[in-house]
Symmetry: D3
Subunit: 69 residues, 6 copies
């Protein structure tokens, strides 16, 4: 299955915490990879985001899905 | 600033593509790191997600924010 | 109330599972309907998404809201 | 590939609208199916959501991904 | 229409910026109101979030819908 | 830290409700502020959203993060 989501990051499950309805999964990522972000033009200009600089990709855990081959 | 988002992944901007309203940013991540996912208990059971196994973290690019120190 | 969300899909509640903070709701959808997705131009090109072909709309349950008249 | 997202809805692409960075995809869904929503316990109580009643699943198009076999 | 989304914040449209596929809307909010966030237990503990303290609600613009009576 | 998310709304924590995996936080917002929404061009046209009119910003609580200085 191919999926339109731009980020498919390989890793190893290191923790599974199950609650009544939800669960938290921790995935250890070793290999280098590329993350794609879609943000507003306004924020690119305001933060002066340019190629070559150090940034952080910020992702709420509720936006991360887990897939298995 | 501390933020509740569980994923703050360091990397280098390698591409900035600006459209009329949105922009796509590519971030190269070198260092190993941990990704946290919050998914349903149902999906943990259905996919039989267990510690130690290889998985993929799937993230739509529109859910990724960019931050700078 | 009109809402900008493009997907308002009618159905019948068949299951309500309540946890400490969250709840999972199952909604049975009978009638045909159209789903709108906003994805990146890059993914349209990479997956070669074209009119007439069979695809799947993938939606994390935490992105689905429930509304009542 | 199995994915933790609870909603994988089959349909046919009927429209592809490509912009500078994003694209809008319309998918026609014929077959009956079940939609899973994760909402707060508070909203279940406030809206008095109960099994058997008619509701609408509301989903922002930017939360819908597209997948192909 | 009642909706499970916990945040329905009244305001006045002050800017509408339309692109090829998406649009950015600015809404001026005058009246005091309450915002509800659902975050992980882990982040509450790590950030030591307690009642009475000053915080910021951080919301990506692609997660905000617009509704009209 | 600067972040690309367009909405950073100051307020006071008035309630913290912790479950097994997630927690619900209520934040009282006093000061006037601007909310930015990114929606589809299609919805702007369908809802005829124009400058000067009263609307509601609708936000699912699972899309709201909390930050502290």
């Amino acid at each position: 299955m191919q999926i339109s989501a731009r980020n498919a990051i390989k890793g190893k499950v290191v923790k599974v915490d199950v609650g009544a309805v939800n669960a938290t999964i921790k995935i250890e990522v070793e290999a280098p990879h590329t993350i794609t972000a879609t943000i507003t033009k306004e924020s690119v200009e305001e933060l002066k985001i340019t190629e070559g600089e150090e940034v952080m990709a910020i992702i709420k855990s509720s936006e991360v899905m887990v897939a298995k081959k």
